[in-house]
Amino acid sequence: MKKYKLNNFKLNRRDLLAGTASLGAMTFASKSVLSDENKSKNLPPNLPEWTSELGEGVDANPYGMPSEFEKNVIRRNVEWLTASTESSVNFTPIQDLEGIVTPNGLCFERHHGGVSIINPKDFRLMINGLVDREMIFTLEDLKRFPQVNKFYFLECAANGGMEWRGSQLNGCQYTFGMIHNVQYTGVKLSDLILETGLKPKAKWVLAEGSDSSGMTRSIPIEKILDDCIIAWAMNGEALRSEQGYPARLIVPGWEGNMWVKWIRRLEFGDMPYMTREETSKYTDLLSDGKARMFTWVMDAKSVVTSPSPEKPILHKGIHQLRGLAWSGRGKIKRVDVSLDGGKNWKTAELHEPIMSKSLARFTFPFEWNGQELLIQSRAIDETNYVQPTIQELQKIRGVNSIYHNNSIATWLVSKTGKVDNVRLG
């Protein structure tokens, strides 16, 4: 493959990095917010180098990747959270994303035994237990069923779990990034069950993964028949391995732990299986030592993605506040924004499409003249549920819950434009 003046390109890139690329880095906030430090020779009235040269031809990148200048937009983990990366989590860089679709390579990962690599020829989905016929399906079998294409958010129940006792991680990514939103292609479980039949006593389903954690969760039959899907594609292409290739379970609106990846088996039974994940984990410990169990739904929540700790304000004047809202109980109806810590609120603009159990994008224009701001957002869903404050949650649940923190966060914008995750009280 012939490459044109690669060296020149690299030099050129380095020049750029010295100039504008620091826009993405947070150190920028400590510099003057108004100075233009770009000394590049590619600016008017000069002729940019990429104009006077040919670029790369087709097929230089058979599978296209983001621009080199976007290499800061990546998933990140917090090393001290877990003992090993094979049983760990990382976070979607939601502060760098627009719209509502999460690119496949940026969808946060949560594994309990590492990423299984599965040849689709070796994939089998077994359905057993209280069915008329115990059956096995290949991936090709699944693709011959009637298919659905649906956008859904997937949020880990522990998203924001580090913030129960106070503001701990200084980043939008680390405090809200255990979420992604993609379009799934798959088969409804209610259609699969037409093939196996169902015994009247079947009330629960055990979903089991084939990874080395053998991930298992119990799901009530009503949910299974309502809207659960076995999906093999996300955003138009096959699932990524880290998202369960070749097939995973989709449990719309419910906590991500139930969306079993690398699915291998569904067992129908007459009682819940009380797996490790739904007893010792994903139960919500209250201050009296009792714990809530089977808290599946992800309640309404929202976050301002910009400004945010990673997205300081760099200029005085007009800005477009941007954020995401979602609810596991249906559609987002409204999002309010406050710039003064929740004292006064204005309703933000919601952007189409607004779909049930999917991320919704909101924006809100505001002027910044160097004053301190306390930025918050609060979501209201179609059930009229209003996203609560952390104090409202703490009053009922204490601070040991870990899971299901859907409270309003506060970003403090300082006079320099720097943004901090803070707790008001």
Binding site: A29, R76, N77, V78, E79, W80, T82, G113, M126, N128, D132, R133, E134, I136, F137, R144, F145, G166, N170, G171, Q173, L194, L206, E208, S212, S213, G214, T216, M271, Y273, M274, R276, S280, L285, S287, D288, G289, K290, A291, M293, T295, D299, R334, K343, K346, I380, N384, P388, T389, L393, I396, R397, V399, N400, H404, L412, N421, V422, R423, L424
Partner: protein
């Protein structure tokens, strides 16, 4: 001669088969019937009532050996947990404190779950490599260290569903959410009474990974 009895039998029989054929009709004719041995190989879950527990047995005395061999390097000789690997023992009376310790003894409501999880996922990196007896032995050792059974108690498929775990009644059902004040979609919009004092900054806690620390 027409045999009415035979005819009646034929009608009833065919009705029966028609009916059962209808009840079990496969709408798409996709997939294949699973063989018993195929299901047996993958159906490894054990329920709280002991259903699914494979035939086998083990006590804590034998369990101590195998635990030392395959568990202790992460979970510690006494289940205390090394580095960030989970603690398995102790934590009793800690659940209502500011630092709850959730172990198999203090938190897990069913012994069956310990068996199920160890067999399917442990040792970390060698899933489903333990024999059923070895799994019973390790579970027995954990239950013994948590003072739930005696050292010589023989744990089997018959009694694993009957072990009484200390936190068996520690869980609340059903989910009471939404549990915050219902405001019918009409929250305060102007001059709301809210706390405005900054009582904490993530920056001061200083645990955010370096690259992203501002």
């Amino acid at each position: 001669m027409f045999d009415w009895v035979k005819l009646l039998t034929l009608i009833i029989t065919s009705l029966f088969f028609m009916n059962s054929a209808f009840a079990s009709e496969r709408k798409f004719n996709l997939g294949k019937i699973a063989l018993k041995k195929e299901v047996a190989g993958w159906d490894i879950d054990v329920r709280p009532d002991g259903k699914g527990a494979p035939i086998g047995k083990g006590n804590a005395i034998k369990g101590e050996e195998i635990y030392a061999e395959v568990c202790a390097s992460c979970h510690g000789d006494f289940g205390e947990g090394i580095d960030r690997w989970p603690e398995l023992v102790g934590g009793h009376d800690s659940l209502d404190t500011h630092d709850p310790i959730k172990t198999t003894g203090s938190y897990w409501p069913y012994a069956s779950t310990i068996y199920d999880y160890i067999y399917r996922a442990m040792p970390f990196g060698a899933a489903q490599s333990l024999s059923h007896d070895e799994t019973y032995q390790i579970v027995a050792y954990l239950l013994y260290m948590n003072e739930i059974i005696e050292e010589d108690f023989e744990l089997t498929e018959k009694n694993i569903g009957k072990i009484k775990m200390p936190n068996r009644n520690g869980f609340l059902l059903p989910d009471p959410r939404p549990d915050v004040k219902i405001i019918n979609g009409k929250p305060c919009m102007k001059n709301c009474t809210v706390p405005l004092k900054i009582i904490g900054k993530a920056r001061d806690i200083d645990v955010t990974p370096e690259e992203n620390k501002s």
